[in-house]
């Protein structure tokens, strides 16, 4: 085999690799969106300064902290399986964490952030919602308004889950998709200016 032919083969393999990786990601996420089980997670009160990082809204779920399993020594960064149950209010809750992959129940692959006393704080793979950064300031205000006070906490995310993997489908504030709520807010602000 001459040098040119070898180079061509290597180039084709390399091209397939660099296209294959993103294509696989797209395929996996699309399958999750189409076939994954949907759950609603409530968002927790957040630090106003942390709410919006550039192009995305930083999400913090209420279910990021749970009771630590007894007699188990967990280290930061350790992988765990967060088992999910749906409460009577229709919102998903993480009931407990397991070191082995559970069978028969929905779960999320998560990582230990830290433990404090008998509490376990998890890093969940649901931490951001991308938006147009030009709409950032208004989106941030909306999200804060619906997340920061306990009596008006009506922001939640719809997540599709399958075999521990998750994809965020939509962020809702005040019962509406954030994009729709944002558009209404912008129209109201325009009306007030006139």
């Amino acid at each position: 085999m001459n040098k040119k032919a070898l180079k061509l083969i290597l180039f084709v393999c390399f091209s397939l690799l660099i296209i294959g990786v993103p294509l696989y990601t797209i395929f996996r996420q699309e399958m999750l969106l189409k076939t994954g089980q949907e759950f609603c997670f409530k968002t927790a009160p957040i630090d106003p300064f942390d709410a919006f990082r550039g192009k995305y809204v930083a999400l913090r779920l209420e279910e990021g902290e749970i009771m630590k399993p007894p007699n188990v020594n967990l280290k930061p960064g350790q992988k765990v399986f967060a088992i999910i149950e749906v409460g009577s209010d229709g919102f998903a809750k993480i009931s407990k964490a397991s070191l082995t992959e559970p069978k028969g129940s929905a779960y999320l692959k998560a990582y230990v952030r830290y433990t404090s006393g008998n509490k376990l704080y998890l890093h969940l793979p649901i931490d951001r919602y991308y938006m147009d950064e030009n709409k950032a300031p208004l989106a941030e205000k909306l999200y804060l308004r619906h997340s920061s006070s306990r009596d008006r906490q009506d922001a939640y995310v719809i997540v599709a889950l399958s075999k521990g993997n998750a994809v965020v489908k939509k962020l809702y504030v005040g019962g509406k998709p954030v994009e729709q709520a944002l558009q209404e807010e912008m129209n109201r602000a325009k009306g007030e200016r006139k």
Partner: protein, 467 residues
């Protein structure tokens, strides 16, 4: 112009063996030995000087023919090639940014499937350009470098766009590592250097982000860096890659220095005054070591970074505050056993390298290298006898500046003399501003230093002009 001074300048600029007394014949012999490694501009300069040398009787016409036969034709290619590469890369970057801006403007209105397709589009364009660069006969080095840089950037852009489209959570560090591992094959596929530079920067950022959290993960820096070393060795062997070798070498020097200083400071936070001089002295001596009897262009970044690092650290160590705390033996504090082991291994290897390279300098009697190379020894002595450490470093810094001044006078090299005077002036100024001396005296001292500068320069210039 004085031909002996010019030859000595050439010899000095490529760092000849310590003693710079050079006879005419020995200078010519040395230049001929440099053939494979000298930069084109030196050969061009030599060719320009040959007629004058013949007219002055330094060499005869036969010597001229022999020299030209040996060096061959001097091509104008070097600068032009670099310019073409730079323009290609800049063009690629601007086009990439422009496309990204156009897409970003309408991104929000696009549906998810369209966004997914557009996320792959930059890759398709990059692969097409890369294919043209690799397989078209008329494709130049510049086009190859530009196309590969564009593709390297589009790989990262594509991953980022997909993450945005599907709100994929993730550690930016994982994204960086994935991106870099996808970029590095380009370096070998196309024999290009700029993606290698991107790779070095990316791996450095990735590993530095882990140092404080996990030395075990951060230690992957070494095998990851080793991936790009075969390419580095390939380009330093060929004169036509001189600019690219120097560029990659610059980033390798900065990356290695940064990683070593951060890692050792993390593992042994109280002993930085030993590690910093040790790391910079090894870099400096590596940059000065004559591989095959001569120093080469890719060593310049190591030489400069190491030299500057030693000077700055030595200046800092002339102050009292670094030595204020009392220290015990080298310890690893509350770090785990693995981190401590890594720290000790790195330390041992650095010490071994420093001892070996210093031994070579002593054997070859290179005063300028010895004086910079012994900085870690001074630091270790200072660490052991702490009340005297500050005084020791003040004496050392003074010796450094004096060596520069004397070398410059001996070589009749104004730049070296002035650099020595500058170091001396900085030392005097910091000591004076450090102490409780009145303004009048401080002012007088500054005037004396300034006069010293001027007088030395005038004497040197007159000496050179007189000869």
């Amino acid at each position: 112009m004085d031909w002996e001074y010019e030859l000595q300048s050439i010899v000095y600029s490529v760092r000849s063996p310590g003693d710079v007394h050079v006879s005419r014949n020995r200078a010519l012999q040395y230049i001929i030995q440099e053939r494979r490694r000298m930069n084109t501009r030196y050969v061009k300069w030599l060719y320009q000087e040959l007629p004058e040398w013949v007219s002055k009787g330094i060499i005869n016409a036969q010597n001229v023919d022999l020299i030209k036969q040996y060096y061959g034709r001097v091509s104008e290619g070097g600068k032009k090639r670099t310019l073409v590469i730079l323009c290609s890369v800049l063009g690629a970057l601007l086009i990439g940014l422009g496309i990204a801006s156009l897409v970003a403007h309408n991104w929000d209105q696009l549906s998810r499937p369209i966004r997914a397709v557009l996320s792959i589009a930059p890759l398709i364009i990059g692969i097409t350009l890369m294919g043209l660069a690799l397989f078209r006969k008329e494709a130049s080095d510049g086009f190859r470098e530009g196309a590969s840089t564009f593709l390297a950037l589009m790989i990262g852009t594509s991953i980022a766009l997909i993450s945005q489209t599907y709100n994929i959570a993730g550690d930016p560090r994982d994204f960086t590592l994935t991106w870099m591992l996808l970029v590095v094959p380009l370096v070998y596929l196309a024999t290009v250097t700029l993606p290698g530079v991107i790779y070095v920067i990316g791996v450095t950022i990735w590993s530095l982000s882990y140092v404080r959290e996990s030395v075990a993960i951060a230690s992957w820096y070494w095998p990851l860096m080793a991936i790009v070393i075969p390419h580095f060795i390939h380009i330093i062997k060929q004169e036509k890659f001189a600019v690219r070798a120097t560029l990659l070498s610059t980033f390798l020097a900065i990356s290695t220095g940064l990683f070593l200083t951060v890692t050792l400071s993390t593992i042994f936070p109280a002993e930085w005054m030993i590690f910093f001089p040790l790391i910079f002295s090894v870099l400096y001596l590596l940059g000065s070591y004559e591989f095959g009897g001569v120093c080469v262009h890719w060593q310049q970044p190591f030489f400069r970074l190491g030299g500057i690092g030693i000077v700055i650290v030595s200046l800092v160590l002339t102050f009292h505050w670094p030595w204020r705390r009392t220290f015990g033996m080298l310890f690893y504090g509350n770090k785990d056993i693995f981190s401590a082991a890594v720290g000790y291994i790195i330390l041992f290897l650095l010490l071994a390298a420093a001892v070996f390279l210093n031994y070579i300098s002593v054997k070859q009697r290179r005063v300028n290298q010895i004086i910079l190379g012994i900085a870690p020894i001074i630091a270790i002595i200072g660490y052991s006898v702490q009340p005297l450490a500050m005084i020791l470093f003040n004496i050392y810094f003074f010796a450094l500046s004096l060596e520069r001044i004397l070398s410059g006078i001996r070589l009749k090299h104004l730049r070296i003399v002035n650099s020595g005077l500058l170091l001396l002036a900085i030392l005097i100024m910091v000591r004076f501003f450090d102490s409780a001396i009145n303004f009048v005296l401080k002012g007088l001292v500054l005037i004396v230093i300034g006069v010293g500068f001027l007088v030395t320069n005038i004497i040197l210039i007159r000496r050179k002009g007189g000869e």
